[in-house]
Each structure stands twice: as C-alpha cells, then as structure tokens.
Symmetry: C2
Subunit: 352 residues, 2 copies
DNA sequence: CTGTTAGCGCCTTCAC
DNA sequence: GTGAAGGCGCTAACAG
C-alpha cells in the first residue's frame, strides 16, 4: 500500500439533493400522485392527455420511482437470488450469464449467493431470503435452504418460488432444470468402449454430490451396455478440480495395470490428469485416452484437445430463469426440463 | 401455500399469512416499537431488562426486520453494486470472491452488474444505481457511469461512493485499487531480456483498454532498461481471450523472422498461443519462450507450465471492498492502493 | 432510558 | 378517468 491520500469521507453524507418524488411529478403535470402512478403501471387507464403531461414531467425531472417504497407497498422486490457453490468456477459463471440475461429482460435483478463451501453462509442467504429481499431463488447447490443443518427455523419461513438448476433436489416440489447426467456419462463410456477400450478408469466427483451419483450410474450403465464388467478398482476419487486431476494422474502413473482410457467427470480434472501423464512420459491418446465432461473454454486448447461432453450452460441458465419468472408471474411452470448434451470428439481419445 | 382453511382458533404461529412485524415483537415484549428498534440497532441505549425481553420476543416470533421499510426510512440499502465487463472470465470471478467476503463481513450484500459487452446494460445499471438501490459501487470496467455514451443525464444523479478496481479511471476522484501494470510488464520484459532474448514479441490487449496502455508502456520500459530497441512489428494485437492467443500463434508461425520470446498480456492468450505453436511443431520453450500475465489456475497445468505475473486477485477484491466500506461509513479512505505482483517462474520461458 | 409521533415514497382502494 | 386518503414497516426526532 502506498500513497494513502485522504479523501474527504463525506461521500455518504453528501449534500445530495433529495431525489424527485412522485409528488414532484404530480405537481408539475398538474395531476394527482395516483395518476402518475397509473400512467406508469397501467397507462391504458389514464387519458392520453394526462399521460402525455405525466411523461413529459417525468422526462423533465428525471424521476425514478423509489424501489424501497415500491417494495414496501407492493411486496415485490424484482430481485432474484442465485445460490451457487463456487463462483470462481468457470462452469458456473457461464451459467450465470444465461440466468442474468433472462432475468434482465424480464426486469429482474440478480443477487449472487456464493457459498464458497461455508455452511454458515447458506444460513445467511436463507435469512436474506426469509427477510423478503428477493422474490424468488435459483438453487445450484443441490439442496433446499436449511436442508443441511440448523437452518430449519428459517427455511420454514421461505415460501417464495424456487427453482433447482443442474443439481437436482430429490423430493423437492419445484422446477428442476438439468442435463441427463446419467445418459451423458453412459454415452461417453460407450464411446470409449466402442473404440476398443476394455479397461476404463473413472475419475469421480465428490461422493456426496448428486451429479456424481448420476454420472457414476451412467458410467456403469455404459459399461454394462458395452458388455464390460464394472471393477471398483477403476474408480479414482476426485472433486472436479484441476488438483484432483493431477492426483488421479499420479495414481494412474503409479499403477502396474494401467487403464487404456480414463473418463474424468470434469474437464478441469481431465486437463490436470493429462498434464501429469505427460510429465510422466505417457502420451495421450497414444498410450492412454482421456475424456472430460463440460466442454469448458480450455478444452479446445488442451494438448491434445479434449474429447468431452458439452453442456449447454447458457441455455441451462436461461431455462432456469424462465421457469422462475413463470412462477413469479403466476404462470404454470415446467416441472422438469432436461437439456440435451453433446458428445464432442476431439483428439484426446483414440481407438485402442 | 398457506393453510388458511384450518379453524384452529388458537391462532397458532403456523398460519402466518403476514410476516412478524416490529409491532408484534413490541406487544409481546411489552415495550414500544421504538425500543425494539433500538434494542437491535443500539443495544447499549436500552436497559438490560428491556433488551432481554425484546430478544426473547424476537426469538419466539422469529422476527426479521423488513428491509424495504428499513431502507425507505433510513435511506440505506446495505447493498453494493459491482460492475464488471465479463462475469464468465475466471480472472474476475476470483476477484469477486474477495469483494464478496469483505462486504459480507461488514453486513453488505453484493449485486453483480455484468456488462457482457453491451453498453445498454451499463445504462441499466446506472439507472439502477441512480434509483438508490445500492449504497455504493465498485467499478471494474474502467470508466464511470455514463462516461461512454448517452448516460450523462442519469450519471449526474449518481452521488453514492464509488471505487475503481483493476482498471483505473483517470481523473476520477475516487479510490483506485490496482496493481502496477506498467512495472509488472517491465519486469517480465526484463526477465526475458536477462535470459538473452533480443527479439521479443508482445501480444496486446484491446487498444482502448487502460490496462493495455499501462502494460504496453511497461513493455517498452523493459526493453529500454535492457538496452533493446522497440520495434512496432513485434506487437501483435489481441484481446485477452484464448482465441486471440491462437490467432497470435498463427501470426508467429507464419513469420520468417520469428521472435525468440513472446510476452502475452494474459494467460488465456499465452495458453492459446502455446497450443498453436505446438500444433505447428514449434517447441516451447526450446524453440520459443512464452510468458503470460495473471497466473490463472490453468497456468500451472499448461504444457509447459506457464511463466507469468501473479496478481493478488482475492486481495484486490478485499482492498476495494474495504475502501468502499470506509467511504460508506464516513471514514477516510485510501485514495490509491497498489498491490504487489509476483513474477512466477515456471517452464515456458528458457534462456536463449 | 422509554414512549409518542411523524413521516420515508409509493400504490391502491374507495369515492366521485 | 381522476383525486383523496390510508397504510406498507420501520426509525429518527422529540418529549418526558
């Protein structure tokens, strides 16, 4: 730190002229405040002349309705909370794009609740929600508020619309937007098998994660569909991070009986793993094939470029936001949406 | 849905159509609403007995203050807007972490304004801010509201505290938190020169970007300090993306007189570039050295691992949030903070 | 230390 | 089609 100049801290107590209120506009347009309000909310119920005068007055004053007053009165915040496990993960940030743009178009703002692995934060966001600061929430963290621990008291008060995204929430009676993880994992497994691989390792996500459970089922489905036995020794524990991929790579390098193909349930792990194999002198895909999951931006510039499953991340976000907006506006909403994934074939997987 | 149909005359708490208000708590604790309010905001100004009764009543009712009412009355939202150019960029999301955790500790929530390259969105966030929905804002986009186009009317109304982060805003009288881009770029350039490289290419950011201008100056500083001439032909235009790196790579591969080292002003570009060189049969660092900037997570698993400049992203976010909170709470705030960067030496750069 | 009172700015009946 | 008036829930100002 250098150069601690002093700024006059009066920023907060600035000599701010009080913002224009609906009254000012009413006076200027020579109508009542009720008419101003109606001219904005239900223009068709106001005479064209009055409306014109109101709009002119608004333009002249630069009037912007006070959201706090509006919320207090109407009980609507036009804000949505998005709860997610890890904001720093590129997978989520692309999804946020889709959510944000859809909410934005519908006039809603987005507040991000980054869990960052701390349960106490979840309680915070639950309280936040219970306090009525948002009209609805999109949950990317795989469970409802308070379902983890200690939040029961508060979560009982949360009656606003919710939508689950990516990680489905079993038993929750809310719209669930996701991909078919099981089918996608099965497809990749069969792809590897179809190229002659009989010994396929699987680098998992966190055991407690529902995505992991689905993808793992898919892996077993794929083996079965290809007439291959499932052998527990070929499951290598991971957690979707680059570092987990590096560790899995070390594990494989150290084995006597190496698999001929490795299916990583995230691209991060695949990239970390390939790196470790490379350092150990193993060539991908010549010595060993590697597949990923997600199709992040770096997949295409990995060396070799990564064969993976593409998730429509932006569309997932859009679909979740749409479903929530439906709910918010009293429309029926789809109960479950499954978006299609795509098998992206690049250079990290080769025939045996 | 609320179970209003039950005829449970006792009025049990389960059937609450409306949230608990301060009045309910006051009645239960047998004090006035003002005392309840004070027990929460300034406990030391309430007698221990009254405070205890209030807290008990709050616990019993599960009372949570209505934020809209509070904001309407106190003119404070306890919300901060963070404006950033690209949410999907991993560089920013790590910074957000630092911002969020610091705001969170101080009791502030974070609203994200993702520009995503569209100017009309900036106008939206300006209006959002002007409407008083946030107490302050952190700007990562390199200019003030309305400084781009058409937003003058609204931006004039924005009188809340602002802080600039990463991309400094010349002439703005607000706290500026950043790294010394020029010095960092100079340092990397001198590092390359010190290893014997005389022909060093520079892959730039977007020309209009202030980071780019600073880093470019640093590049020239570094050349000068090393006694090397600056030759315009060695500047390759980029925009910090992977794709720009790929394009720059093609450019270099096609040259007859290839540089012996390339300084990319983002890790994304360095990774894209290395990939292209590799595909063309050029070996890094044996045939050509490559350096990056940022030290993103993938830098360490790039092949070869990337020599780069580490930015303290989390700390940058924390510092910006702290400065803003100072302003928000009427304290003096540092005018300019420059955090230290670090030259991270890995395998993508070798002596000539 | 505590209570009473008066709005913060808006929307929405209700009356005309 | 329009206006008057009340109140959403809270806190600041002012008495006591």
């Amino acid at each position: 730190m250098d150069d601690i100049g002093h700024k006059d801290g009066s920023g907060s107590e600035a000599i701010s002229v009080r913002a224009t209120r609906i009254q000012d506009v009413a006076k200027l347009a020579d109508v009542s405040t009720a008419t101003v309000s109606r001219a904005l909310a239900t223009p068709e119920r106001v005479s064209p002349e009055a409306r014109a005068r109101v709009l002119e007055a608004i333009a002249k004053t630069g009037y912007v309705p006070n959201p706090a007053a509006r919320t207090l009165r109407s009980q609507k915040t036009y804000m949505v909370l998005v709860v997610l496990p890890d904001l720093a993960n590129t997978f989520f940030s692309k999804i946020l794009r889709g959510i944000e743009e859809t909410l934005f178009e519908a006039g809603y703002g987005m507040i991000i609740g980054d869990l960052d692995g701390s349960p106490e934060k979840e309680a915070h966001f639950a309280a936040f929600t219970a306090a009525g600061r948002v009209d609805g929430a999109i949950l990317l963290n795989g469970h409802l508020f308070g379902q983890s621990r200690g939040g029961e008291g508060i979560s009982a008060r949360i009656t606003i619309p919710l939508v689950a995204l990516c990680e489905s929430i079993p038993g929750a009676d809310i719209p669930q937007i996701e991909i078919d993880n099981r089918a996608a994992a099965s497809r990749m497994t069969q792809h590897l098998a179809s190229l002659g691989h009989r010994s396929i390792a699987y680098v998992s996500g966190p055991a407690s994660n529902i995505l992991e459970r689905e993808r793992f089922q898919g892996f077993k489905d794929g083996l079965a569909a290809s007439g291959l036995p499932f052998e527990p020794v070929q499951v290598i524990p991971g957690d979707y991070t680059i570092e987990a991929g590096v560790r899995a790579g070390r594990d494989i390098v150290a084995r006597r009986d190496r698999p001929t193909a490795v299916f990583c349930t995230s691209d991060e792990m695949a990239i970390g793993l390939m790196r470790t194999l490379f350092s150990a002198g193993l060539r991908v895909p010549d010595d060993i094939s590697v597949a990923g999951f997600d199709d992040i931006d770096f997949a295409v510039v990995a060396e070799p470029s990564l064969t993976t499953i593409r998730q429509p991340r932006r569309e997932l976000g859009q679909a979740a936001a749409s479903a929530l907006i439906d709910l918010l506006q009293g429309r029926p909403s789809p109960k479950r949406i499954r978006l299609e994934t795509e098998l992206v074939i690049r250079d990290s997987v080769a025939p045996l």
